[in-house]
């Protein structure tokens, strides 16, 4: 098996302090504006953080009860049950919204959500450009 190091050394002479200096930033080839323009297969999902705060009153009630009873859960079963029911309701609402999005593609605002769009783009990607085009 040929050793790659020998080949690498044959190409150029390594001077003593070569590694000390920084390499010049050679970005000519990779500059974006020089590349042919093409559409991506993704869109950004930046603004898609859920900002809902479900069941805050239920949480505080539960914590007060737990503190009162020395953190024994069996004594606060009603509060815990209420909290769990609240969370279940929230999850169901979330899922229903998701189902509507999946069926009709549109959310309440009448726009396709970016997550959904990404899913579709991964399933049906943009056609590849042929080199003749540029």
């Amino acid at each position: 098996m040929p050793r790659l190091t020998d080949i690498e050394f044959a190409k150029r002479v390594v001077s003593k302090f070569e590694n000390y200096a920084r390499r010049p930033a050679y970005r000519g080839i990779f500059r974006r504006d020089l590349l042919p323009k093409a559409l991506n297969n993704t869109v950004s999902t930046k603004g898609r953080v859920s900002q809902e705060k479900p069941c805050i009153s239920a949480i505080s009630l539960m914590l007060v009860c737990l503190e009162k009873h020395d953190y024994i859960q069996s004594r606060c079963s009603t509060e815990i049950q209420q909290f769990n029911d609240c969370m279940k309701k929230f999850e169901a609402k979330k899922k229903a919204k998701q189902n509507v999005e999946e069926k009709g593609l549109l959310s309440g605002r009448g726009r396709i959500q970016p997550d959904r769009l990404n899913e579709f783009l991964s399933r049906y990607p943009q056609p590849r450009e042929t080199p003749d085009q540029y």
């Binding site: 900002q51 705060k53 479900p54 949480i59 505080s60 914590l63 737990l66 815990i80």
Partner: protein
């Protein structure tokens, strides 16, 4: 050689050529784009007829795992626990540890049962180790967790609700962590069995860790309205 050291499965095959290496090492082999469905394991569901609009008629389905079965003692929670214990793909050892731990639970409970004198005391003792295991995991599940949120340059720990999947993970983590605090000459399955029995009675180190987390959640209750 680096490939062999990374995967214990292959290493075992290297030592003993008769052993099979069936584990999927990395990445899913199912393409996301073709929308694979999960396999059905429940026997009743398998025998019931398919409706005409069922998705299983026209969508591809994943193959069942080798650990899936329709036996009576099939417990997905215990299967998940073995996967949690597993290191470097050595499931054989992880399965051995869990089985030994459950066996030790059974032995300890039986000893208690034979020591008990009255019928009333005997009726209170739970002898099924699988039930004890599920009870222990249930008792270790946290209700809330803390998430760090930066507000105005100050970091707050905000209590937030947990998803059920993460709850079980946290319970497993605490149980194993508590079992690992042992002397050198005691085996992990012995300490794990003791920890499981303690946790099923809501005692022990794992449950104490959960209570500690609840306590810090209570201290940071005022920050609950912060956005996360």
């Amino acid at each position: 050689m680096s490939i062999i050291f990374k995967n214990a499965c292959l290493l075992r095959q290297f030592i003993n050529p008769n052993s099979l290496c069936l584990t999927q090492i990395r990445w899913s082999r199912y393409d996301v784009r073709s929308n694979y469905l999960e396999p059905t394991i429940d026997k009743k569901e398998l025998h019931s007829p398919l409706s005409e609009l069922d998705e299983r008629r026209y969508r591809p389905i994943k193959a069942a795992l080798d650990e899936h079965n329709t036996l009576l003692n099939y417990d997905p929670l215990i299967k998940r626990f073995t996967r949690h214990l597993m290191k470097k793909g050595n499931k054989n050892l992880a399965r051995y540890v869990t089985e030994m731990a459950l066996e030790n639970v059974k032995i300890i409970q039986l000893k208690k049962y034979h020591k008990a004198e009255t019928e009333e005391e005997k009726s209170r003792i739970e002898l099924n180790p699988r039930k004890i295991f599920s009870q222990a995991v249930e008792n270790c599940k946290p209700l809330l967790i803390l998430q760090k949120v930066v507000r105005g340059g100050v970091m707050y720990e905000v209590p937030i609700p947990v998803m059920p999947n993460y709850q079980t993970y946290k319970a497993f983590y605490w149980l194993v962590e508590a079992a690992k605090e042992k002397e050198r000459n005691t085996r992990i399955w012995d300490s794990l069995a003791r920890e499981l029995i303690d946790a099923s009675n809501s005692e022990g180190k794992a449950v104490r860790k959960k209570i500690e987390l609840h306590r810090t959640c209570e201290a940071n209750r005022a920050y609950a309205h912060y956005r996360w």
